[in-house]
Symmetry: C2
Subunit: 376 residues, 2 copies
Amino acid sequence: MLEKQRKNLNFAVIGGGHGGQGIAAYLAYLGHKVNLYNRTITKVEKILEQGFIEMEGCISGKGYMNLVTDSIEHAISGADVIMVAVPASAHKYIANLIAPYVAAGQYIVLNPGRTGGALEFKNIIRNINPGKNVCIVEAQTLLFACRVVEEGKVAILSKKNEVKVAALPAIRTMEFISVINHTIPEFVKTNSVLDTSFNNIGAILHPIPTILNCGRIENTKGDFLYYIDGITPTVAKIIEEVDYERMQIADALGAEVVSLREWLGSTYGAYGNTLCEALSNVKGYWGIKAPASLDTRYIFEDVPQSLVPIADMGQYLEIETPTINSMIHLASVIHNKDYYGIGRTVADMGLDGLSIDEIKSYVVSGEIYTSGGVVA
Amino acid sequence: MLEKQRKNLNFAVIGGGHGGQGIAAYLAYLGHKVNLYNRTITKVEKILEQGFIEMEGCISGKGYMNLVTDSIEHAISGADVIMVAVPASAHKYIANLIAPYVAAGQYIVLNPGRTGGALEFKNIIRNINPGKNVCIVEAQTLLFACRVVEEGKVAILSKKNEVKVAALPAIRTMEFISVINHTIPEFVKTNSVLDTSFNNIGAILHPIPTILNCGRIENTKGDFLYYIDGITPTVAKIIEEVDYERMQIADALGAEVVSLREWLGSTYGAYGNTLCEALSNVKGYWGIKAPASLDTRYIFEDVPQSLVPIADMGQYLEIETPTINSMIHLASVIHNKDYYGIGRTVADMGLDGLSIDEIKSYVVSGEIYTSGGVVA
């Protein structure tokens, strides 16, 4: 029976980038049937031809694909689990694409959701395909740190020991974990998507030091240690202010969140009297340079899909987020884009008009109870 | 007659720091009677003992002081011109100190006023000593670039060819220039203190690159070329956004202002297709390093006395200044100070409740005409 469960899962992996190739290769390598979808088929042509993705690094082997396609319909047809491994800025596009074809009983897993990914995804599917009772799962972070070396070959740099996940609705989290457990035992339950969304540490560690080092990144092409040289006591002070604003909002929503300092401790065993000291105790950070330019997902993904939903939730709950707002504004100037305008909002998450209690109840039950009864 | 005018001017120089020692030495060296005031007498003890301040650099010689004192009353008694050469953050303190003793007919010159210095100064004196019809003159910048080498010895690094000045009221600017002209021919008339206040280029060039390079300053102790390495295309983009916000407010007030790019051209003959190119064409900028730490007047003077009055005037006129606001907020986080709260506001400038036309008329006439008649 165990053996059967292991063999019988069908996966669709959405996205042929770093994360997508990594997870697709790994799942196929474990013996599962994997369909790989990429919007532009020419970008995964080599995988289509050779039929497999090779892994190197801390896991090595080949994962043979069942199907490589640019048809979302074919990709997800018959899949038990749909692994969405695209930049969070593409979640909206993918949700719209999937909505007409998704089947009841399929799990859609966002790897990761950044902030509000599952809520936005469910809201889009609910609007397009109201009858379908899908379960969206939000992973707090990607299972792997991985990089595509060349098309069809991916380096698995590290695999996390634990990745927190929550289903929307949260009452289905354990059901999902029981399905996935033999394949990805690293997925562990957390209370709700509010936890995964508001524990999004990338929201803090990616955009803030990048923006505050924008001149240095450009002047040196990123030739300095991002976490060590880039985060000085003053940069750390601003980071902790952003972190504090995030935590205040999370607290108001009853999410179980940890501070960046606590996260460094629990994730890397890195402690210190100051944030700088704790960062310097993360061994892996000593090798990581800053992005080579400001055209980086540290800004174009993490600002609209992490900082904006946090700030907009703050505004919705009347909690001030002046430091986060400054960062969103500077990012907007840097990229000539209105990131607040294009980013993920409370309305995108389908929470507009709900009280805190209604939000808390919605993430658990997946249904919106108001004084007028169930409305969605 | 000319000779007489030259010899007979009595000066009080307020402030024994870089600017104060420089201007006091220079005026005395030219043969004028100079009283030097410093709040803490021990800080100018050596000058008191030796009786003079020595200049080196592009001007060399000695300037003998008539009086070195910590009594503002003694310092300004009998002075034709009171040269205020203190950080703009001390203007409020000095205005309160001077107000009871200032005599009609004395000129008070702010070297420089940053933004709104003359307006704030006059507002304080008007409140404390309403009958006194003083003339406050605002200089757009300091006459010298100078540094105290040791107490009583100041290096004059350069003298500007031209410094724009305006009196408050502007109808007295030419009268002041005719008095000072033989001593400081570099002072040239501009329309009003709105011009000197809103052409405050330090507001742009000092705090913005400092804040946007806060990590690099701390990590390298300022060991990079401030204007060359510190202002990359992206930092320049943010600077130009701040400059645009400043210009919009200046335009609304009818001030004659130039953009930073135009200013680099007219001041240094430095042009370029981009701001970065123009900056790289200022020869003097190639030697200037960043501040060695974030404890710098580029933040603690220029944010509260330059950016805050610009932003507050923006808010007053309902002109948005999101980029300036971001900078003020970040500076506040960096220094753990509420810079907006302690900075110079429209109310401090005595302009609260006035329409744009009333402000324009006030800076020219020195009197506030409202529908109810002259109120001040």
